[in-house]
């Protein structure tokens, strides 16, 4: 009885120290970033760098607040282009990958074309889209789509092919239909790959939208960047970059949350491995 109590006590203490440890680990990156910003601030003051070369972090924050209305409305434009391009890439990319892995002849037919387009620098195509579709939303969406499309197709196809032969043998010995083999074995096996493709694509989609705006736009964060650049408003440049980064991260973490819900088995296994890694 007494021993059981002692065990419970020990366990509680262990949990407490664990959670303290966890908080420390969580706080570390923020402390790192804060330290970096402080050094930056001090360095600019110390070396008397002009603001058009390198503004102080506090200056950037002030600009962020002052220009918030414009940053927000233009951010919405960029976010819209980014998300539309991204969703398009998922909606077209995933079924394409399924087709490629389901039919060898479709694979032979489409894969060389895909490889060709993947090799073409997407950024170089952007001006062409401007010629074809004008300065509207369309060319930006297309660049975001093109740039995030390939990681999705490729990772999904790799995932769908990663099912082991034994697993297929197992499925066939249970009398599984083609459809069952796909939904019960192939698709779940591919999900971790699919999500890693989705995450890479998420960070690329924002690049695509901005590149599209660079080529020709009258709004959006890419446009703000160009304007700020030509006016030497370096603080605004930085503030815009902050908002752009936040946009990319937002999409990235949205996917990660989705991943948590869709493939908890994979996420927790990965977490377990990481734990081992730090020990």
């Amino acid at each position: 009885m007494e021993q059981a109590e002692r065990h419970a006590q020990a366990r509680k203490e262990k949990q407490e120290s664990d959670s303290r440890e966890e908080w420390r680990l969580r706080a570390l990156p923020f402390i790192g970033i804060l330290g970096f910003l402080i050094i930056w601030e001090i360095a600019v003051m110390l070396f008397k760098l002009p603001a058009y070369l390198l503004p102080r972090p506090t200056e950037i924050v002030r600009t962020l607040i002052e220009e918030w209305d414009s940053l927000q409305s233009n951010g919405m434009v960029t976010a819209y282009e980014m998300i539309l391009g991204y969703v398009l890439a998922v909606v077209i990319g995933v079924p394409l990958a399924i087709g490629i892995t389901a039919s060898p002849s479709f694979d032979r037919f489409i894969t060389p074309i895909l490889l060709f387009f993947q090799t073409v620098p997407k950024i170089a195509i952007a001006p062409l889209f401007l010629v074809w579709f004008g300065v509207g939303t369309m060319p930006k969406v297309l660049v975001a789509f093109l740039i995030s499309f390939f990681p999705i197709v490729i990772d999904t196809a790799v995932g769908l092919r990663s099912v082991s032969l034994e697993m297929i043998d197992l499925a066939r010995s249970m009398g599984a239909t083609r459809m069952q083999i796909f939904t019960q074995f192939r698709l779940p096996t591919s999900l971790p790959y699919l999500f890693s493709g989705l995450k890479v694509a998420a960070t690329l989609a924002v690049v695509g939208a901005v590149v599209g705006e660079f080529v020709g736009a009258d709004r959006g964060l890419g446009y703000i960047l160009l304007v700020a650049n030509s006016n030497l408003q370096t603080a605004l440049l930085f503030a815009t970059i902050v908002v752009l980064t936040a946009l990319g991260l937002l999409l990235f973490y949205a996917i990660e949350i989705l991943e948590h819900f869709m493939i908890p088995w994979h996420v927790s296994r990965r977490a377990g491995e990481q734990e081992h890694g730090t020990m």
């Binding site: 082991s164 034994e166 697993m167 043998d169 197992l170 499925a171 066939r172 010995s173 249970m174 009398g175 599984a176 069952q180 019960q184 074995f185 779940p188 999900l191 493939i263 088995w265 994979h266 927790s268 296994r269 377990g272």
Partner: protein, 258 residues
């Protein structure tokens, strides 16, 4: 005797690859009677897995014939359970759902088979682990789950391809005892492929000894030992059988003399 449950006659397999063709199985014939426990032992690469897969209808054979219950095997057989060397569990399903996969894919009644799945898990020492995911289990536990999965639909035939290969010696012994226990209870027809001579003699009624590739049947031994056979009480005859099989392997150069 009456017509055997499984009849393998003059079975041959040549794998055709881009570069060359591999003669894997050469003129193999043996029968398996209903409720018999057969083991195949043979050197690595002699075609054991190939024979099992051809029997299961997963790989086509080049010539010869296989019949199960009088019917020729021409497509994947579903009236059986297979245990692979690797447990092949689905990471996204917990233990009980991995066992129930068999039931789900076959479209059987879940409610009817659930008690049986639980009973099997209990019999193999997995009670309390029903809702764990595969990555939370040890290798031995995973293999036990795959044994339960192969048995849950109560198939008349059980095929095992080196089911203990990836396990440590202790777990191997434990699970082979489990298998003997299950077999004595249910009397299914079993084909076990193994590298281990003692394991084959311990578990099987008959042991098929194979030559190096291309695999041929060198000898078929009837193991006449009382059951249940226990590792701590092995009769002298046990060593006679294992000694005999070793001799065969030595004669064909598979085992060195010293």
């Amino acid at each position: 005797m009456n017509e055997p449950f499984i009849r393998i006659q003059n079975l041959e397999k040549v794998y055709q690859t881009k570069e060359d063709s591999i003669f894997a199985v050469d003129d193999v014939s043996f029968d398996i009677h209903q409720s018999q426990f057969i083991a195949i032992v043979g050197p690595s690469g002699c075609g054991k897995t190939t024979i099992l897969k051809m029997l299961a209808g997963l790989v086509p054979y080049t010539s010869g014939s296989i019949t199960i219950g009088g019917k020729k095997v021409t497509r994947p057989q579903t009236d059986l359970g297979i245990i692979f060397q690797d447990s092949v569990l689905l990471d996204w399903r917990d233990v009980i759902s991995n066992v129930m996969l068999q039931v789900d894919i076959r479209g059987l009644d879940r409610a009817q088979y659930m008690p049986r799945a639980k009973e099997l898990l209990k019999a193999t020492g997995l009670e309390g682990f029903e809702f764990k995911k595969p990555y939370e289990l040890s290798g031995g536990m995973r293999q036990r789950v795959s044994i339960c999965r192969a048995l849950v639909h109560d198939p008349p035939l059980l095929l095992m391809d080196e089911p203990f290969g990836a396990l440590d010696a202790l777990t191997r012994e434990q699970i082979s005892m489990d298998i003997q226990h299950l077999w004595m209870e249910k009397r299914k027809t079993v084909l076990l492929i193994t590298h281990s001579i003692p394991e084959a003699v311990l578990l099987a009624d008959r042991v098929v000894v194979m030559s190096p590739r291309p695999g041929r049947v060198v000898e078929i031994l009837d193991i006449d030992l009382p059951r249940p056979r226990r590792l701590d009480r092995l009769p002298d005859k046990f060593n006679e059988y294992t000694g005999r099989i070793r001799q065969i392997f030595q004669a064909s150069g598979v085992l060195a003399l010293d």
